[in-house]
Structures are given as C-alpha cells and as structure tokens.
C-alpha cells in the first residue's frame, strides 16, 4: 500500500502553453465561416422546420424577400410586412420593380435563372404570402425557395 501513499503534496501543473493555439484555431474557423450581415432584418424571423431540404445550387442567383411581423411594432404596426433589402415596403406592388433591379445585377445568361428565397416567419398567415407569390409570377421570377431549417426530430 505504500505505493498509494501521498509522497509529495504539490500537484503537477497542466501545461496551458497550447491553449492559445487551440483558441486561435477556433477563432480562424469562425472568422472564415462568418458572413457579415449585409441587410438589417427588421422583421421577426423564426423559420419553419422541414425535413426534405435541398441546398440552393448557385448562391449568386439568389435574392431574398423577408416576410414577418415587424420587430418594432410601434412604427410599423403589428401586421406582417414584407421587407426588400433594407426597407419594409407598404405595398407588394413594389416587388416586380425589385425583381427587375435584382435581375439587372446578374449577367445576361443568368437573368432568367434568378431564384427568390422567401424567408417567412412561421407565424405568418398564407394571405400575404399569396400576394407576394402573385407578384413574383407577375415579374416572371418563378424559381422560389422557401427558406427552412432542418428538423432533426421528425
């Protein structure tokens, strides 16, 4: 039993010399993956969950339309609104204009392949979404993607 007896009371210190390296590694990972937000989203965005997700093939072809309740309900009211780029719009009639501007950013060959990603809050009613879809059809931007998050439970 003498082997287990306490011989020296000072515990060996764990070397923390490699800690900065580990932290830096994590830091670089996050620096590389970070995308600084271009637009400031003024609407609530709790995306619905789904299982059958597919990746968007070409990111450069995607434009976003946000739908949801405004975060700041005192200025914009409590009803769901549509946001394009940085501004909340009052009427969905402005969508075709927005689409043609987004189209103009693409090269000629890619113009008809424009994809619209709809980021819609899960509490929104279908009514406003239908209006948006109708405008998208009007603007002939028919490729639509409903942004959802992965549901791991189902």
């Amino acid at each position: 039993m003498a082997k287990f007896g306490r011989k020296n009371k000072t515990e060996p210190a764990i070397s923390t010399a490699s800690l900065p390296d580990i932290v830096f590694m994590l830091l670089f990972f996050f620096m590389v993956t970070t995308v600084l937000r271009e637009t400031d989203i003024k609407l609530e965005q709790r995306l619905p969950k789904a299982t059958q997700l597919q990746k968007i093939e070409k990111k450069s072809l995607v434009s976003y339309i946000y739908v949801g309740k405004p975060k700041n309900s005192q200025t914009y009211g409590a009803d769901p609104k549509v946001q394009l780029n940085d501004a909340i719009i009052t009427s969905v009639d402005l969508i075709p204009d927005f689409i043609s501007k987004e189209r103009a950013k693409l090269t000629e060959a890619e113009r008809d392949q424009i994809t619209i990603s709809l980021k819609v809050d899960s509490e929104t009613k279908m009514g406003i979404l239908t209006d948006v879809k109708l405008q998208l059809r009007e603007a002939d931007a028919r490729k639509v993607n409903y942004a959802t998050v992965k549901d791991s439970k189902r």
Partner: protein, 187 residues
C-alpha cells in the same frame, strides 16, 4: 542579479490566450451560420388573359389537399391528420392503376394543394414537406438507397451509375404539386 546580455528577453505569452478568447467570443456572437437550405418550388407562369383552359385531368389522377384557416386538413374530401398525409400520398402516387380511385401512373398523378388566406405558414410548409417526403421516399426506394442518402445527393460527387439512377428516379416520379388560388375565409 546580473542580466545575461546574450539572451533576448522573452515576450510573455500568457495573455495571448485572453486576447484570442476575446476575439473568438466576438466572432461567435456575430456569426450567423447562413442557412441556405429550403424547399424549392416552381411557380406557375403568370395568367394570360385569354388563355385556354388547362387540360382536364381525370378525377382519380388528382390528389386534393385542402387546408382551412383553422389549420385542419381535408384530403380527398375526408379529414385527415397531418401525420398520415405522407403515407396517403405515397399510396396515391405509386398506385399504378391498381386501385380505381387512385392515380393511373406516377407521371400522371398530380397533387393539388389549396390553402386559405388564414392558414398558418408553418402548416403549409409542413404539408409541402410531407408531400415532398412522399416523392423523395419513392425515388429513394427506386434507387435502392436510404432517404438520407437521397437528400444528400450531390451531382458533382456522385458516381456515374448513381447519377443515371437519380435521373431515372426523377423521371419515374416527377414532382407535380400544383397550388390552387387560396380561398379567403380567415384572411
């Protein structure tokens, strides 16, 4: 205490970890991992004023899904729980003419989804997801792979054999989900 002049003084690296942590936390907080996944759909072309009526479909080839403003489902004129939708849809698509009330063949089968203006978006996505799942499961079955494997299919990485199978499955079970103009009860 004579200082050895031949040695360069060491920089104290003890606070390096702290600095790195500070930066790390900053990036952790500001990062939003981009969610570029979703359910793709193709909208119908815009309405022409004097367009002819669409080709009439046989009643048995149309699988009607209605969602009302209280988020309840009516499938083929019968109330149904959302959990059963996937099974029912699969039955309908893969019928191949056996049951006279279900579709004649998968490429003729059309699923019609009609919502109300008052339907919650998350329910709509749930329904759409279940219907897509029905198609995807049938495709995966035909390809002889698991559903997870099917969803993670990447054209660039797949082998030639798998690519052919994928295209064949896509052809055998074309996704035909049509969306009717919504009713306006709970708008």
């Amino acid at each position: 205490m004579a200082i050895d002049k031949n040695k360069t003084p060491e920089v104290n690296a003890g606070s390096m970890a702290d600095i790195a942590f500070l930066l790390l936390i900053f990036f952790l907080v500001t990062t939003t991992i981009a969610s570029d996944k979703g359910l793709p759909v193709l909208l119908p072309p815009k309405k022409e004023k004097d367009a002819l009526d669409q080709i009439k479909l046989k009643d048995r080839d149309v699988f009607k899904v209605l969602v009302n403003s209280k988020n309840q489902l009516l499938v083929e004129d019968e109330p149904l729980s959302v959990k059963e939708l996937r099974r029912k849809a699969k039955e309908f698509i893969s019928n191949n003419g056996k049951n006279p009330e279900l579709s004649t063949s998968p490429d003729k089968a059309v699923i019609s989804v009609k919502t109300d203006r008052g339907t919650k978006y998350s329910i709509y996505i749930y329904v759409l997801d279940e219907l897509k799942a029905a198609y995807n499961e049938l495709r995966a079955e035909q390809m002889g792979i698991g559903i997870e494997e099917y969803l993670n299919y990447d054209k660039k990485k797949a082998s030639k054999d798998l690519q052919e199978k994928y295209e064949a499955a896509k052809k055998a079970f074309p996704i035909q989900i049509s969306e009717a103009e919504p009713t306006n009860v709970g708008g």
